[in-house]
Symmetry: D3
Subunit: 310 residues, 6 copies
């Protein structure tokens, strides 16, 4: 059973809208190696888990629960970045017959590469697709049932995620984008550590290879800030009823190739506090949410009435 707190797992730094960066981030949300995939893969692996090695179940499922919050974080980030209407950015919009408040969806000159569906289908919100517009597919989910193989795949999956996010970092200087990208680079690093540690307990020694890509991400300043706090060596369990994850996730980090990568793995006792979530602003040119004044009034009335009753 799953529960929710209406908070984000990390802060999203404000910056200018940037639909091209938003589109690039879609790879991290709905791409073959994005957060929807890690979330679904780990949840299916835990629902289908076989045998008594419960700490391994708790490791895979624990990371899986965290990934739902990553989906929430990156979807909200994309949401903040897709914002094409000049009406809301302090610029004039022509009136009358030729007014085209959504012209930005067609005119790529000032914006770089994007996905027209962000404006035409999704009301300037996030979508379950990748950066090239391919919808997320259930065929991405890998769940062989063989514990060693599943852990090996998960390690490769997190490594590819970290690789692509390092590339994303190099594509944009937008602070909104980079705050979420940096956070996910560090968390993917943590998950590499987690799955590598579990594989170590089964007989593999990762002494020279990790993390993958073997790149000292502290060269990215936002990443350094988070690694200085040790975020790449912690894995909270996200369980309200306790977890046996710490039986495996303990001791020396398997990533030892640089000064910043070493350290000791930890399962913190407290969940992170989270950051308040605020819904996006209305977008009249998208007819979102599109309530007429009458209906808004009526809805308000219903809510007021409900208040009195309670």
């Amino acid at each position: 059973m799953f529960f929710h707190v209406q908070k984000l797992i990390n802060e999203i730094v404000p910056d200018e809208p940037d639909p091209a960066a938003a589109n690039a981030l879609q790879e991290g949300l709905g791409g073959q190696f994005g957060e929807m995939r890690t979330m679904m893969q780990y949840l299916f692996q835990s629902f289908n888990f076989r045998g008594k090695a419960k700490p391994y179940l708790d490791v895979i499922q624990g990371v899986g629960i965290e990934e739902i919050s990553h989906v929430e974080l990156i979807a909200t980030t994309i949401n903040r970045l897709v914002d094409g209407s000049p009406r809301y950015q302090g610029k004039e919009m022509g009136e009358g017959r030729n007014s085209t408040p959504l012209k930005v969806a067609l005119d790529r000159n000032g914006q770089g590469h994007g996905n027209i569906h962000h404006f035409l289908v999704a009301a300037q919100g996030a979508m379950p697709v990748d950066a090239a517009g391919n919808p997320w597919s259930g065929s991405y989910v890998y769940n062989s049932g063989n514990l060693s193989l599943d852990l090996l795949y998960n390690l490769m999956l997190e490594s590819t995620g970290r690789l692509q996010k390092c590339r994303l970092y190099e594509m944009t200087a937008n602070k909104t984008a980079r705050s979420t990208i940096s956070y996910l680079i560090v968390r993917d690093h943590a998950h590499e550590n987690v799955f590598a540690k579990a594989l170590e307990s089964l007989g593999v020694n990762w002494n020279k290879l990790l993390p993958i890509p073997n790149f000292d991400a502290t060269q990215f300043p936002e990443v350094k800030q988070l690694m200085d706090k040790g975020l790449h060596n912690q894995q909270y369990h996200w369980r309200l009823d306790g977890s046996e994850m710490a039986k495996i996730i303990t001791g020396q980090s398997p990533s030892t190739t640089s000064e910043h990568n070493g350290g000791t793995l930890q399962v913190p006792k407290q969940a992170p506090e989270g950051v308040p979530f605020t819904p996006g602003d209305v977008r009249p040119e998208e007819f979102a949410p599109g309530l007429s004044h009458d209906i808004e009034a009526m809805a308000e009335q219903v809510m007021q009435a409900a208040k009195h009753v309670r």
Copy 2:
């Protein structure tokens, strides 16, 4: 941010394995109108929510959180139903050269229609596909940004879910399958009520049409038991930090076409207690989890060592 308790939202009644029923239930998991879709659709609608009508956000997101637990429930049910090896069902298995412990995957005579991937790819576990084997697709998710349209689609989606589950009920008498099917029929009914009530607050009057399909599901005895408890008129919010859902979900049920459908909508104060989750048994013929004795011993040692440290 999301949290988890390692329990199921409803009990799964034990019965004989039944791969054909398992495959039919895949429609309710990974089908176009199944639980993965409702879960993802409502989560995207809440992450992309616009404007100040927060109770509507809480309604959509609250149902969305519940759907993750439905994915967990139906995946586990499928898991229990796909069990083809005679070795674990008290029957003899031939030894020697021609031993074919997974023959059931090819021989459909005694089993009806199934999906060979359950045995060849998924180690007798659930998969993110529908009953015809199509992988779940991100293109299923509907999120127009227009609140009225999104609620209308959600109502139609829940109605189609209930329709297909009523058909599933009529396809199998297996108790494992029916316990989960019946539970989901009632919860889909509850969600029809929830979205219809929200639409009522925006001006639509559903006086004669609901529930869809307009069928008195108390004719199904397992469903009657649950409706007698009023489960179709309750909607818990699944939030650890409270919810404004009850501002809308209150008063007369919009389903009034039969004696059993009426009543008053409620947002209970307590989450359901849940039912313990036990991982499936090992399946050597699937090499799942496939730990060798040496490695099992070694893993055990690591876990013991970890215990001492702590």
Copy 3:
């Protein structure tokens, strides 16, 4: 602009329900070389037609219009063939708790190979998918803009259609299925003739190869009946405003490899008369159409009232 008469282009002979044959026929409806594809391919080729060779436009579009009626015919045929409920076939159905009127959807023993979606999703109706369950795809449509290539592809497409329908004929002796299969074998032959004739006017001589497959289909008795009437040498234009098709479709048939294949191509002056269309019976176990008695009465009242007004 398109118009309709609520009649079928050919008669569907009654016979027993046969879900396996119905599923096989789906290839002819929604398969890569089925009627939805020919219809869409020829309509796109005619909407995108370039230049002044109007008779070629009229040929391609004329066949395209006919294909819509083929989609109608084969969808209705599938509809007649998928009928799994014993309740409507004069057999007893168990009552009480374990009643499973849709059990046929899971139990393939007596029925051969089928698609569970016919019962679970489509209310025992036709679907836009092929015989292996793949949904029809826009990527099937070929429209290069080069007239020679488009005609060459169309000839190959019709030949593959005829090949697959000859195989379908050999898969089932069901009269309902065979009446439509036979009709389509002959019409695909006619369309081979049409496109080959158009290619002849551009310089290709088909002297030994046609029809493809090079098989004397009069060996199939239902086909012989239709070919004896010359149906493989006629191509009506389906236009209410006349057509220039006959400028090309005239003279010696390009299929000359057997006694039955020769003859002269004709564009008849009159459209075929058509066969009355009757909607299918209600299927309560599918909740189709699923109107409650109250609502049926109310709907009836509305219709009566409307009558009086008029």
Copy 4:
């Protein structure tokens, strides 16, 4: 059985070529909520219709027939808009070795966002894909067999179509694009009215919600012209053999939220007159239609010969 008149259902106003607008319009043709989908969905619902409520069959099928003409209209509009060659637009094209008459397909600077397939695959014609390049899929078609659900889905489908077309209107000021967009906004409105009226006869009261999006489209001047003629309150039946559609589509419009939305629904006695269709010009750089002079002469000869014979 289907028939055709080689005319368009509405006039396409001439303007400059605009490949970016053409690409955006592809959503209205091959998108998940575009005209190919409404056409196929309503045709399948009518071929699979069950029971005796024939006026409902005539309503669904009548709208479905109209949608084929919408596919024809929007495909032709896209065709007019994709026109990248300077050779045909009065501008100079470089000669010699580096001549690149299709350079526009790669150089997006002056053109905004487009689809390279328009130039590389489709000879500057329309394609069965959406604005992000996804091919149309049979999985879009919804046909549950339950009449209430099918009507509810159809209403939601038309509302989403109208929502997306209102957004398209705001993306471009090109007159060719806007003439077709505006016409389809009004027809989608009419279809919302039609399906809502049918649902009213089954017990739903839409008093405050319609049309969706709840936006007074007379703010778009081209739309106002059409609504002033009442086009949003008329639904012709497109049947050569008469129709019972008018039993349901009569009386007060269900859209009452603004002065322009009210009025009385009508089923006109005459089909619209239509607008002549002219095939596009040849495009030598696309090798379309690509007939050599010899072959053109020969084809001409054949046609002349045919004339004499007749």
Copy 5:
């Protein structure tokens, strides 16, 4: 540049036709972890290879070339196994009107689970699809450009291939199927060794985990025969111009978990000799190859004439 010898890389043992086994083998051909995927993945990785570590290029490409011959082997095996016509199996086939020589395609009773497309589309030949009928997809190919990650993925890919083939072995006792399955189990083992060895050279120690699944495949007698010859420790380079593969593929096998798995890796100097390839028999009921007697004679004549000229 690629070259070919018209021989198979391993012998296919004759046995009875078995369409159900053929369909299961499709997973090994066109499945997500089948031979088309390994072939394409390694070829793309070698075409896109970066840097000077040429022995690694030669390793990846060398295995890739071998995989084309595996595609040839498994396609031919499927071809031998799909053979449904009684006409060619010494049984009687009814004559006259109701003759249905392809009835086997619909009647699953005696045959188990299959794919109707084998008979309807592919003329009883192999297809580029998996065992559930999904077409092979380019999205399967993984090529991150990061050498460590690519090798890690390749190891996981071969392990999953070997896992699925072990399951296939347990599904059927058909000798034709088992001869190819057993050969591929051993070659996948060899490829696990190859990629693990390359990873060892980069710092990972596989001491306890390999092979995956960690199962002593000598329990399968056909596999034991091949492993006794050391086939799991050899990797030929398939290059006519020599290869640097042996710089890496040398020394102790990384698989050390059982007596049979150890040994020394070798790059043999000679390619295997191969086994003659014979085309399948004609299938008149599939119209394959479908040459008429006239055309066969004419074709023969052409070939004879050609002989004389030469």
Copy 6:
């Protein structure tokens, strides 16, 4: 069995990087009518070949083997063309916090239309997708089993390939792109000749239509150079054990519509010599190949050690 020489089948002329041209060329690699498709289609047709007409087998398979080398050539060409990093093109790259060496992936202004996956997923390498980003699909492969139909489809396929490559030629003046495009235009012409000749032996006379498109490609100067050498009239067999291809591919070319198209078909005795293949340069900003200095040293050591042993 397949073999390889690490050489390219034709020379790639060096020029500036051009990601937009690279993306356009993807159609020729992974598009519906690209080289992956011809390769797979002809290989499947040869693996599934039926009957004794061995020269036809040798024709189809011989062309199929050549297509693998075309896949290699075009993949390498795309590889050369996708090169976005200023670091490697003699331009400065900003240092410090806002350094964005992969910015080119988002900023389309100076580059025209491209695919972000080239930079984000594929490390600036080729991918198995088309120019609109659709992954290659097994559903493209056509193999009806009917020899006439397969040859007819193959001819149409090569013609469409040549048509699209002629359009590609007109889209870019980049010499790297044009060298490969021109080569493939001529080889597609040769393959048109090959399949048309085979059809001629079965009874079809192509006197006026070929080549398709009927365009004298010597107007493209790079193409003229290759046709002057007669490359469009030669078909090597790529077999190490000889071939019967020449029995059919001999005599007058079926393309006779212009002075350059005529001539005599030949099967050369020697394979082309090929052009050396050099792996691409490292791309640190893509972490490709991403070996750390330590690991590079270690790998080097292993290779040196290996050398000594040998």
